[in-house]
């Protein structure tokens, strides 16, 4: 009997630990904060594209960068139009800041490279960045958004992000083993 109590206590404690760990990796966001993350995440990729357009001479990389710049700008435009319509002001938050500080580091790494090494680093980063953003949108932003139109916009963006990832992986193959 006493043993049972101990097991119960251990189980409850374990559950509490898991719950708090889960709460830490999955931030709770309000709609204004989700809107901020959405705009920041897209703007970061527009900025990466600007670096590529300035530094790369590879036709496939330049074309890909132009698509990233155009598409992510189009998504920002849609997001801004929606929050304006809803009267929501994007609100800065820990996740937006985390994305921005990560982007600053990456920008420095990219700026230090040139030629083929730059092309490879840019595309490798596009692959991993799109994976991160897809997972953030699917696992955090969509489930947590309260407004139906905001949720719908985020859902509509996912296929675009996935096509970008496929496209980046296609270009990445060019640099494989180089």
């Amino acid at each position: 009997m006493k043993q049972m109590k101990v097991i119960n206590a251990v189980m409850v404690f374990a559950m509490m630990v898991f719950a708090s760990a889960y709460a830490q990796v999955t931030p709770k966001l309000t709609d204004p904060e989700i809107a901020s993350v959405a705009v920041v995440a897209n703007q970061i990729d527009v900025n990466y594209a600007a670096i590529a357009k300035a530094k790369s001479k590879n036709a496939d990389v330049l074309k890909f960068a132009q698509t990233m710049s155009d598409d992510h700008t189009a998504v920002i435009k849609q997001a801004v139009a929606l929050v304006t319509k809803l009267g929501v002001t994007p609100k800065d938050n820990a996740l937006s800041q985390k994305l921005m500080s990560g982007a600053e580091k990456t920008k420095k790494q990219l700026s230090a490279k040139s030629g083929k090494a730059f092309d490879k680093a840019y595309i490798d980063n596009e692959v991993s960045y799109h994976k991160t953003v897809i997972s953030t949108v699917e696992k955090v932003l969509i489930p947590q958004s309260q407004n139906a139109e905001l949720k719908k916009l985020l859902q509509d963006v996912v296929p675009t992000l996935k096509a970008h990832l496929d496209h980046a992986e296609m270009v990445q193959k060019e640099f494989a083993g180089k």
């Binding site: 155009d70 189009a74 849609q78 509509d156 296929p159 996935k162 970008h164």
Partner: protein
């Protein structure tokens, strides 16, 4: 619901559907191929058909279409980003940019594998029978 009201509802729904279908069957023309001089008047009086391909969620739907030579295919871009329709092997023809909400049509002369040159993973196929 009484009979009269039900009948009236059916009529209203019918008028609405006719209106919607009409507005969908006259897509805005965005571009034309260099050799594509056939006028709309002649194609509507002939037996040629018009097929629609929806560009939605980064896919061509249907991805594969079978038509007869002289039929028209209309691509409608429902996405929020710009797409295009380009012959894949020799770039024999292209729509150029089809902005969000716009469409482009082509009179089909021969079968083709095509893709979106902006998002090269988007592919489609036209078969001519």
């Amino acid at each position: 619901m009484n009979k009269k009201l039900r009948r009236r509802t059916i009529i209203v729904v019918y008028i609405f559907l006719v209106f919607v279908l009409n507005s969908c069957s006259t897509p805005e023309e965005r571009g034309r191929l260099p050799g594509d001089t056939a006028t709309d008047a002649s194609s509507t009086t002939s037996a040629h058909k018009v097929y629609s391909i929806e560009i939605k969620d980064m896919k061509f739907d249907p991805g594969e279409i079978t038509v007869h030579k002289g039929d028209t295919v209309v691509w409608v871009n429902h996405d929020m980003v710009t797409h295009c329709v380009t012959e894949e092997n020799t770039k024999a023809w292209t729509s150029s940019n089809i902005a969000a909400g716009n469409s482009w049509k082509m009179v089909v002369q021969s079968g083709a594998d095509y893709f979106c040159a902006i998002h090269q993973v988007m592919k489609g196929k036209i078969l001519v029978e």
